[in-house]
């Protein structure tokens, strides 16, 4: 099958890969660019493990295919070094035991960062609703919800 040149900006760096149009973005990131922090669970858009930032907003990398990504800007879990919100979330995930096996964690963190930045006034009910697109089979979600709320509350306290 014909492979097409796909131009991407991944974690701030330009990349060109050859891919079949049917290859999904997660396989492209993992297989061609060796960015294996993006995990694959269900491969049909339900579990959220593969969530990355695509053109500055969270998206499912398993149901976005290579052709459609030509020219896109992507940030994976490897691309958040020095990001203050992600740093706070990582600390909160540790403090609140928000992961066990860690498989859902990359997608969970990218969704959590979007919640913190987009919904600064979110309460527990809203956080749970917003997290409903990321499945975790270990924690029962309590720790994850607490971790997100911990970062939200810290930021609200800072603003006073």
């Amino acid at each position: 099958m014909t492979r097409l040149p796909i131009h991407l900006t991944v974690n701030g760096e330009a990349a060109e890969v050859l891919a079949e149009p049917r290859t999904h973005l997660a396989d492209l990131l993992r297989g061609e660019l060796l960015l294996t922090g993006t995990h694959l669970g269900c491969e049909h858009g339900v579990c959220g493990a593969c969530t990355v930032e695509l053109d500055d907003a969270p998206a499912r990398s398993c149901i976005t295919h290579a052709g459609a990504c030509d020219g896109a800007r992507i940030r994976t879990i490897e691309g958040f070094a020095g990001d203050a919100v992600m740093e706070a979330l990582r600390g909160a995930f540790t403090a609140e035991h928000a992961l066990q096996c860690g498989y859902c964690t990359p997608g969970m963190l990218i969704t959590a960062r979007d919640i913190v930045l987009r919904l600064p006034d979110a309460d527990e009910v809203r956080v749970r609703e917003e997290l409903s697109g990321n499945l975790c089979r270990c924690t029962g979600y309590r720790g994850i919800v607490r971790a997100v709320l911990r970062v939200l509350e810290a930021r609200r306290a800072l603003k006073g």
Partner: protein
């Protein structure tokens, strides 16, 4: 869980996109409906026509009491207030409950409607509005009333050589009441029964019952339903053939709750 091979094209304008139809190619907007179907190999098109980069693919314009929402406008944009006024507030509430935010960031109102899954949110809700789908084909644009756009499971009134270009809805006055209920066991999953009620001051209230594996059912004058929701919901659902008892119960309850929510909507 990997798609069968397909070719990919990214037309530069609408006539070019229309010209690519036929020959086994499927149009794709945000890809959030067709993407899973490709991965599951439920859809195996020879080609995918990417509509995201067409001029005016997304955006909202209001003129002459009509609001035109370009088909490629994302659910997230509508959730975040891209549509102004009372109509926008109603649509934002619907958009927020579609799937999950990462899906809403890519998925589009037109893509979802044209995909015509009876359980999809826009499919279930848009017939409540006296508006049109704007189709574009080789001869130009034509309008299809939203109430008759979805014709069956994954089928619509679009002709094989047409694309969905936009949705046109009437701007709604303040004081318009809205009730919307959908049954999901988990937030974001496909609805098992959806009902909505739209009451514009001075007009007959409209209601829709949807997500029952059939095209949405418009109740063009819901005055009786609002006056006697218990009896009327039972009568409406009893007239639907072949519903399992549990599904019929959800449908009746969705109708009653949508009526109640419209009554409480001030």
């Amino acid at each position: 869980m990997k798609p069968a091979p397909f070719t990919y094209s990214r037309p530069a304008d609408w006539p070019a996109a229309v010209a690519l139809l036929g020959g086994g190619a499927r149009p794709m907007a945000g890809g959030q409906s067709i993407g899973p179907m490709l991965n599951l190999r439920m859809a195996q098109p020879e080609g995918v026509i990417d509509l995201r980069h067409l001029p005016d693919a997304r955006g909202v314009t209001v003129s002459g009491g009509r609001c035109r929402i370009a088909a490629g406008t994302t659910h997230a944009a509508i959730e975040d207030g891209a549509v102004p006024g009372r109509l926008g507030a109603i649509l934002a509430g619907v958009a927020r409950r579609i799937a999950y935010r990462p899906v809403r960031n890519r998925g589009t109102v037109g893509g979802s409607l044209a995909h015509a899954d009876p359980a999809a949110d826009w499919v279930a809700v848009l017939p409540a509005f006296p508006g049109d789908a704007v189709a574009v084909g080789p001869a130009g644009e034509r309008r299809i009333p939203l109430a008759s756009f979805v014709t069956g499971l994954l089928s619509s009134a679009l002709r094989p050589d047409e694309l969905l270009r936009a949705i046109e809805l009437p701007v709604l006055p303040e004081g318009t009441r809205w009730g919307h209920w959908k049954f999901c066991r988990k937030p974001g999953e496909f609805s098992k029964a959806t009902a909505c009620v739209l009451a514009v001051p001075g007009e007959a209230p409209r209601a829709v019952l949807a997500a029952l594996d059939e095209p949405p059912m418009l109740i063009p004058d819901a005055t009786a339903l609002i006056a006697a929701p218990e009896e009327e919901a039972s009568r409406i659902v009893a007239a639907l053939p072949g519903l399992d008892p549990w599904r019929a119960a959800l449908a009746r309850t969705a109708l009653r709750r949508a009526v109640r929510m419209a009554g409480e909507d001030a």
